[in-house]
Structure formats: C-alpha cells, structure tokens
C-alpha cells in the first residue's frame, strides 16, 4: 500500500489558537488537493512553543464539542491529521500533546513523556509529564507518535516498535542551537542523525515534522524529514521556511526490508524484560 504524507512545516502565532487553527484548515485543504492521505503538524502547532504563563489559557480537550477540535475533526474527514496542542485533562493538568484525527474521530492522543527542563528549556515548570507510550492502529497500519524530547531518549521509540508501530510520527518545535562550521546547526544534525538511525534500527518509516519561525531570540529550523525502513532519506523540507512537503511511502517496503534484515523477528523482548527487571531491581 502506498500513501502520501504531507509534512506541514509551519510557523505559529504564540498563544493565538484561532489564527493557528485557520492555518491548519488552509493547509488541510491544500494537502488534500495535492492528494495527501496524512497531514502532520509540528509540536504545539495550535499554540506556539514557549508558552510559559500562556499555557492554561490555550489548553483544550480534544472532543467534538470543543470548537477548535470540532473544525479539525471536520477537516479530518478529508485526510488524516496529526495536530499539536495543549491538552487539559479532567483534573486540569496541562500536557504537551499531539492528537491523531481520522474521519471525524480522535484515534489517539499522545502526551509528551519527556519534558526538557534544562538549558534553554523549562517545560517541566509549566506542563505535566505524560505517562504512556502506546502505538495505535490507523487505516494505513499501526503508528506511534512521539514529541521532540521523547525521541532524544532511546526507550520511547523502542517501546513503540515493540508495540507494533511501523510508522513513527515524530513532531518537534526544536530551537536551533550550536552554530559551528557545518551548514546545519548541531541540534539539527543530531536530530536528523537519530531519526535515520531509528529508521535503520527499527526497519520502520520515521517521519519528523519540525516547525519554523522565531519566538523572541529562538529560531526553529524546520528541515522535516522522512526516512524509509532502510534508513534512506525519502524527503526533506527546506531549512527556515514554511513548507508543505509531500512524500509518498510504500508500506510494502517493510516486507522487503524485513525479509532481508529480520531485526524485529529476532528482537529478544523476554531477555530485555528480564535484564530490565534485574537492573531496575538492583538499583
């Protein structure tokens, strides 16, 4: 099965959900007209990234009676979408979240499980920690969502792999840093390297959508990518520009790659579990 991904590498307005929603809906139309099946927006695409004390005012719960999600769910009749937002749960905890919308339904919500609170980051001050990493079924196969720092750690992608994900959907609002002599910032090089590595290690499709634009002095570099199960780059969005990057992927590539390289078949999960229990038990 072939499907066309649309990577919506957008800039956002900080704290202006309505303006960001309008951009989402316009791009959904454009992507649908281009034949896309799945449109992926970056981390916090409906709100902007450095929210600080704005957080509680832009939080939404993804249900059909919520006006913002009502519009997005309508748009999801035309094509599947991943959108970034702040989820406020019933107990009024705020999570950095991404929702997978399909044919008018919310199929899955991922709460970011690793909140960077070091260096220029202060997420742990404003957000609650997600507590679950789960793959989910889509009409294109089983997928998994992770948000930025989640995939700076090796364990969440590994868990998604074991939970059946063949399509990894990674989203970021990643501030660029580390200007040296190379034509990419250190942070951009690192992210591209690990995404290629995850695709290779897990013989899976790895999609990464990163935003562009600035918030005060922070720059977001874009450079969204799709890697195939051989770790080969299929598509790359431009650096520092808004773009809708289309990439056709062939899910049958999973069959071909895994016939050659049965890493998934040979993965010794029982051994991993046993050793984890020993390691955690001893610590």
């Amino acid at each position: 099965m072939k499907l066309t991904l649309a990577l919506a590498q957008i800039n956002t307005r900080l704290g202006d959900v309505q303006a960001n929603l309008e951009k989402h809906l316009a791009l959904a139309k454009e992507a649908q007209a281009s034949g896309a099946d799945l449109l992926i927006f970056p981390e916090l695409s409906l709100t902007g990234y450095v929210l600080q004390d704005i957080t509680s005012t832009v939080a939404r719960h993804p249900t059909p009676d919520e006006p913002i999600f009502h519009s997005l769910l309508e748009a999801s009749q035309g094509l599947d979408m991943v959108v970034g937002f702040v989820d406020e749960d019933r107990r009024h905890r705020f999570y950095i979240s991404s929702a997978y919308l399909s044919r008018g339904e919310v199929l899955h919500v991922h709460h970011k499980v690793y909140l960077p609170t070091y260096g220029l980051f202060d997420e742990g001050r404003f957000f609650a920690w997600g507590d679950s990493v789960q793959a989910f079924d889509t009409r294109f196969g089983r997928a998994g969502i992770l948000i930025c720092e989640d995939f700076w750690h090796a364990s969440p992608p590994y868990l998604l792999w074991l939970d059946g994900a063949d399509l990894f959907l990674f989203t970021s609002a990643s501030p660029g840093r580390g200007l040296r002599t190379e034509p990419q910032l250190e942070s951009a090089r690192w992210v591209e390297l690990v995404n290629s590595a995850y695709a290779s290690l897990f013989t899976s499709f790895v999609v990464h959508v990163n935003r562009v634009g600035y918030e005060d002095g922070l720059n977001f570099w874009g450079g969204s990518t799709v890697f195939d199960p051989d770790g080969e780059l299929l598509a790359r969005g431009p650096a520092y520009q808004e773009a809708l990057t289309l990439a056709e992927i062939d899910m049958n590539q999973l069959h071909r790659t895994r016939a050659r390289l049965p890493l998934l078949r040979d993965e010794r999960t029982a051994l991993v579990l046993r050793e984890m229990q020993r390691i955690v038990g001893n610590s």
């Binding site: 450095v50 200007l179 002599t181 600035y214 005060d216 002095g217 720059n219 650096a239």
Partner: protein, 273 residues
C-alpha cells in the same frame, strides 16, 4: 585547538530571519542603527539592511568633537555601500555643558555620558523614523560587561549578542563590510588613542577562546588553566563575568505579592504575535 569559526551563510540566514520576523511582528517595518565606524555596528547595519531593505534602515552617526575622522569616514563608507538612509547628529552640544560643570570629570564618566547621550538620540530618532533600535553588542563585550548600561547596550533587539568578537569579524568580512573597518583596532573612540584591547588588557583573540571554554564548553577555571591559559588572566575574566552580571539582567523587583513581574509572571515578548 579552539576553533571559533562559524558557517557564515547559516549565521546570515538565522540572523536576517530573526531581524525581519521580530521587527515585523512587533508592528514595525523599519529600523535605526547607531553607526560608530566600527565593525559591530557596521555588521548590524548590513544585517538589518538585508532583513528590511536599505530604504527602511536609518543609520545615525553621532560624533563628539574629539571623535576621530576615521570613525566618521568608516561609518560613511557603510552608508554609501548599503544605500541606507542616514543622519549625522553631533552630541557635543548635548554633553559639553554637563562636562563643563565638572572640570575634573574623568574619562569613565565622560564615556558613559556620551554613550547615554547617543542612546537618547537613537531612541528619539527611532520615534521619528518609526523604526526599532537594532543593537550592536557582541557576546564578548556582553560577557565582560564592557558596555555602558542604558547606553550602547540599549536596544529593541540584538542580532550580534551570541557572536564573539572574532566571529563578528568573520561574519562581517563574509557580508562585505569594508576590510579597513574589520581589521582596525576596535575602539569605543570615547577619548583619543583609546582601544578596547588597551583598556581591557588582553586581546579579543585570546579572551574569546577563554570565554568559549568557560561559557560554551562549561570548563571550570582550573580546567582553563590546565588548557594553557594564564591563571591571573582566567581569574580576571571570571571575575569580570560575575561582577558585570547586573548589566545583563533587568533590575530585580522586590517580591511582595503572589505574582510578580520577572518571577512568576512569565511571557515572551512575542506573546500573542
């Protein structure tokens, strides 16, 4: 081997995008730069001219009577090369009556007053021109505190504050800033014969490498000495960084209420844009 070389095309992309985005989202399309004739303000002017278009940039020369003719000529060379709008507003008439009240006024006081007089002119002209004041302070001088608070450090936004002086020179050359400006000894030109390196007591080439280890690479002072820097030099620089931190932050507000600006009232400047 400490290498501070940067990819200048990438730096331009980021900095020009920063200036364009952050000026326009604040509701402006124009900018004002104080041109001293030195490399920092020349580079800021080149960057903002690229970001907004030359016609939307006002370069202001603000000589004092003892300012060197070279400074004025070099600033004019930047104006001519870029085709930006320009004004020359001498500050002598503003500051001289005050100087004359204090016959024994020293160089530091005079320097600070001149820097603040220039700030007044720039902010006033920014109102007339309807543009934001673009800063010219580099990472080296910000870390060393080699700047006048509310003077040359005052600006609406600063494209150079994360570039060491040696990196400013590299980027300036790459962008076509005249070589005579890039290569001349840096000076605040506040009095005759003044040079930055003479006043600081070390060269930018040396201190930039030390700052890179201390700040970017998180070396301890002891690590820096082991890496070959003189102990007294390291101590001097560490002390300068710490003692001048007040110039890098907003004045602390005494907390009384439950929610206080600066502590738990936290928003970016780009809030809502």
């Amino acid at each position: 081997m400490i290498d501070l070389t940067i990819h200048t095309d990438l730096a331009q992309t980021i900095l020009i995008g920063f200036l364009h985005t952050e000026i326009t989202r604040a509701g402006f399309s124009r900018a004002v730069v104080g041109l001293s004739g030195g490399v920092d303000s020349a580079l800021s002017c080149y960057l903002v001219a690229r970001a907004l278009g030359s016609e939307n940039v006002l370069a202001v020369r603000m000589p004092y009577k003892s300012s060197s003719q070279d400074s004025l000529d070099h600033a004019q060379a930047v104006i001519d090369a870029l085709g930006v709008q320009s004004l020359t507003i001498p500050i002598t008439e503003m500051v001289q009556p005050y100087f004359d009240r204090y016959p024994d006024i020293g160089q530091v006081r005079r320097g600070n007053i001149m820097a603040r007089a220039r700030m007044i002119v720039l902010y006033d002209q920014s109102e007339v021109f309807d543009g934001l004041v673009v800063g010219t302070g580099n990472k080296t001088e910000i870390l060393l505190g080699y700047t006048t608070l509310f003077g040359d450090s005052a600006c609406a936004l600063n494209p150079l504050g994360d570039l060491y002086k040696t990196q400013v020179r590299q980027l300036a050359l790459a962008m076509g800033v005249p070589e005579v400006i890039v290569q001349k000894p840096p000076t605040a030109d506040l009095w005759k014969g003044q040079t930055d390196e003479g006043e600081l007591g070390f060269t930018y080439a040396e201190v930039d490498k030390l700052l890179y280890l201390l700040v970017d690479q998180r070396y301890t002072p002891e690590d820096c000495v082991q890496a070959g820097f003189g102990e007294a030099f390291v101590r001097l620089v560490v002390q300068r960084i710490r003692r001048n931190h007040f110039k890098r932050i907003l004045p602390p507000i005494a907390k009384l209420s439950n929610r206080t600006v600066g502590y738990d009232f936290l928003y970016l400047r780009d809030w809502g844009t």
